[in-house]
């Protein structure tokens, strides 16, 4: 009797060591992975290796390919070439979403993947692969997500019976993280900006729990733009730039400056004096002194926004740091908006042309002149000749392929975008707002539109342009960099460089107030 009692733990121990021997193999390896969307090459040969039980930080600026790489590793998308090799994969099966889920790969999405109409427990049960009985599954689901929440975020105060739509943003983020942990064989946890809306305490709780997980052999891929957090909590840090992993650092020896340089930014130490110069009236007066202030937005903290007549102003920074909110303030400001002054006539170029830009059943001319009709009418009737003339002038000026009567949907994406930009400029507005309009537009078209924007600004209009493409900001007279919903720096003239934009958008010393 006692012999078996002794031999049993010994047996399980030997199994355990045998297992850990095989587990020393990397959890997942990406080798030469490429992926293109149309003309955009999102990944150009990524090599990445995630070891057993480590936290790998993944950093990079907008469009470096972090999200695409993440989807490849989670099996949601397949690479065009190259391969993803997972340790837990069943032999002979391709690496797709189903086999990734079966091998314990879980992902926490930045744009949270929760159904707002379902309760916390129901949401968790949707993504929980463990078997539940037909009866009592609800109770089991409530207990599992409750336990996961209690383990990671003690004192969270979330009732698992509430609909996720009723929860605050931070609470929803906690649920999204906790439900990814509702699985038995977790081998790889991918976190995309997990702390974006978490408070300080919850963030600390999350990172300490990640350490518990890695102690159990789970690998963690941590994507974040908060450099301090990545440095403090990762084992290694991979830096992505232009669809490639350009360098991998050991987190213990790397500094924020090194990471920024590899990402394409410049070292922070030299910035301070330039920074002061950029804000001083002498410098900004040179760039912005062309006309009177036509639009301004006061801010509770950070720099106030100002746009002068004849200026081309860029809004830069990481995506989703408050740029869209500023555009929205400028566009939808009314008599009752406090702290916002805008001219009466404004025009707007939307970023997503399919959903909020073109009128798909209309012709090129009709699409182009819809905003300008106010100026073309008399007594409520539209002057058809003036309308055709206006359309013809813009079509010629922008070299839109196809004539005025062709349906808008028969044009290529780039030409549709030209029509939308022309629509905004044809409307005779004092302030033109562009919401990242050149995504997926070819280089030749972009250059034509840059020239048009410069010419229109020189003609006395004020143009506010949000772009996720930092290199585009070189065309602007002045650039505001956003971080954490605030304007953290204003660049113009010589300080307006891509390196400075990258450095300032990660700059935690000025932006880290929450």
């Amino acid at each position: 009797m006692s012999r078996t009692a002794i031999s049993e733990p010994a047996l399980s121990e030997s199994v355990g060591t045998a297992r850990s021997a095989t587990h020393t193999a990397p959890t997942i390896i990406a080798r030469g992975v490429t992926r293109s969307y149309g003309r955009t090459r999102a990944l150009r040969g990524v090599d990445l290796q995630l070891e057993h039980g480590e936290i790998l930080g993944l950093v990079g600026h907008n469009g470096a390919g972090k999200s695409t790489l993440m989807r490849m590793l989670a099996g949601i998308e397949q690479p065009d070439s190259g391969e993803v090799i997972a340790r837990e994969r069943t032999a002979g099966k391709s690496w797709d979403a189903a086999s990734a889920a079966a091998s314990g790969v879980r992902m926490v999405y930045q744009e949270l993947a929760l159904c707002n109409d379902l309760t916390v427990a129901e949401n968790a049960s949707l993504s929980d692969p463990r078997p539940t009985g037909a009866w009592g599954w609800r109770g089991r689901a409530e207990r599992r997500i409750g336990e996961a929440l209690d383990t990671v975020f003690p004192g969270h105060g979330i009732s698992v019976l509430r609909r996720t739509g009723e929860l605050a943003m931070a609470e929803r983020q906690m649920v999204e993280i906790a439900r990814a942990l509702c699985t038995d064989n977790l081998s790889l946890l991918i976190l995309d900006e997990p702390t974006e809306s978490l408070g300080v305490d919850a963030t600390a709780q999350l990172y300490s729990h990640l350490r518990t997980l890695t102690g159990r052999g789970v690998s963690v891929l941590l994507i974040s733009h908060r450099m301090q957090e990545v440095l403090a909590n990762s084992d290694r840090i991979a830096v992505m730039k232009d669809g490639m992993v350009v360098e991998t650092f050991a987190a213990s020896t790397a500094t924020e400056g090194e990471l920024l340089v590899v990402m394409g930014g410049e070292v922070r130490a030299t910035d301070f004096e330039v920074d002061a110069g950029a804000i001083s009236p002498a410098v900004s007066g040179r760039a912005g002194g062309r006309g009177e202030i036509v639009a301004s937005v006061r801010a509770a903290s950070g720099i106030a926004f100002e746009a002068r007549a004849g200026e081309l102003i860029g809004l830069a920074g990481l995506a989703g740091q408050g740029q869209e909110q500023l555009l929205n303030k400028l566009w939808s400001a009314g008599a009752l908006s406090r702290g916002v002054t805008v001219p009466k006539r404004r025009a707007y170029v939307p970023g997503d042309r399919q959903t909020s830009g073109i009128l798909p059943l209309w012709s090129v001319a009709e699409n182009l002149t819809i905003s300008a009709l106010r100026g073309l009418g008399r007594f409520g009737l539209v002057d058809g000749r003036a309308k055709r003339a206006l359309a013809a002038r813009w079509i010629a000026a922008l070299k839109v392929r196809g004539d005025a009567t062709t349906p808008i949907t028969s044009l290529s994406g780039g030409n549709q975008q030209k029509v939308l930009v022309a629509r905004a400029f044809a409307a005779n507005a004092a302030l033109v707002i562009l919401d990242d309009p050149f995504r997926g537009v070819d280089v030749a078209t972009k250059n034509e539109l840059y020239a048009l924007m410069k010419a229109e600004a020189a003609g006395g209009r004020s143009i506010v342009w949000y772009s996720t493409e930092n290199s585009e900001m070189a065309h602007c007279d002045r650039v505001y960099v956003f971080r954490a919903n605030r304007l953290v720096s204003e660049l113009s003239g010589e300080s307006n460089t891509e390196e400075r934009i990258i450095a300032d958008s990660f700059d935690e010393t000025t932006g880290a107030q929450r």
Partner: protein, 325 residues
């Protein structure tokens, strides 16, 4: 919070009740409307508060409650079925003709209806055809089939169905039994079962359901199959009451079921399913005819009265939501 005190315990009963109350709140106004209507009816005609009185009063609501549960399932995935009324008419026709004459053929046709609904669900999901269009189109098919089988109202229902309609227990009104059964079935399917969670997830956010690794088409097809089954039950119960078949007997059901779901706290965008609310809404709408006759008003005012009730409840909901928020 009770949930945080103990690590492994499920939420306590008190918080469970509180949350259910807040989630079921939209159905509350429909309950208020029901109580008001019932109050007026009883005040005018106290005899109605007997087993036979309640049986008479609630009988017409039974098929409507089943149909409303079916509509609720369809609406929980974000679709709308505009063919319910015509299909219930067709089921009464089948029940009064084929089901009595050649039961195998009759049952075969009912099964075929379920299969057609499965196909509808698949087409809506895979081809992106709006459910309103496809079910409206199908409603004409149902009417055509019904007229082909039985051009004028008539026929006789099989013996077992007639017996079901004649069932009158002593202690409780028979319609109440059916209404409670319909509600429990709807509650189990939409709220308690795993497929119900998936249905509401599909209506709430389809990409999320897909990310969680579920088949969208499968979920929608199962929803349509379950709804078709409830619709057939509704048609059989209607036939058991009228003991004959009439393709036009339920033509007003289509919009009444939608109104019942909305009255009971559902919405058009999907994601929500409140079975108790849908039942309350259906019974409220079904009672209006009784109310009008008790108040000796013309029954041709029925539709207008129903419309006013729907508007009053919706207005009331908007006002109370503003206060509670």
């Amino acid at each position: 919070m009770t949930t945080t005190l103990s690590a492994t315990m499920r939420p306590a009963m008190a918080s469970r009740l509180r949350v259910s109350a807040s989630h079921g709140f939209p159905a509350l106004l429909s309950l208020v409307a029901l109580v008001v209507i019932l109050g007026i009816t009883v005040a005018n005609q106290p005899g109605i508060l007997s087993v036979s009185g309640l049986t008479l009063m609630l009988m017409s609501a039974v098929p409507l409650v089943f149909a409303a549960q079916a509509q609720m399932l369809i609406m929980s995935v974000g679709d709308i079925d505009l063919g319910i009324g015509a299909l219930i008419g067709l089921v009464t026709v089948i029940a009064a003709t084929l089901l009595a004459e050649s039961p195998i053929l009759g049952v075969g046709m009912l099964v075929a209806i379920v299969l057609v609904y499965a196909l509808l669900g698949l087409i809506v999901q895979k081809r992106g055809v709006p459910s309103i269009i496809i079910t409206l189109g199908m409603s004409f098919v149902w009417i055509g089939l019904g007229l082909q089988i039985l051009p004028t109202p008539g026929g006789t229902t099989p013996e077992w169905l007639t017996a079901l309609g004649r069932w009158r227990p002593e202690a409780i009104p028979a319609p109440l039994v059916f209404i409670v059964a319909a509600t429990v079935i709807g509650w189990y399917l939409s709220r308690q079962s795993r497929i119900g969670t998936r249905m509401r997830a599909l209506g709430s956010s389809a990409p999320t359901l897909q990310k969680a690794g579920w088949s969208l088409a499968g979920t929608r097809v199962v929803t349509y199959v379950l709804a078709a089954t409830l619709i057939i039950v509704s048609g059989l119960l209607l036939a058991s009451q009228t003991r004959s078949g009439d393709i036009n007997s339920a033509s007003n059901f289509t919009l009444m079921t939608i109104a019942a779901v909305i009255l009971g706290g559902g919405n058009f965008s999907g994601g929500r399913a409140l079975p108790v609310g849908a039942t309350l809404g259906a019974v409220t709408l079904g009672l209006i005819t009784v109310l009008l006759s008790v108040m000796s008003l013309s029954s041709s005012l029925q539709s207008a009265a129903q419309g006013i009730i729907v508007l009053a409840v919706l207005a009331g909901r908007i006002i109370t939501e503003r206060f509670t928020r």
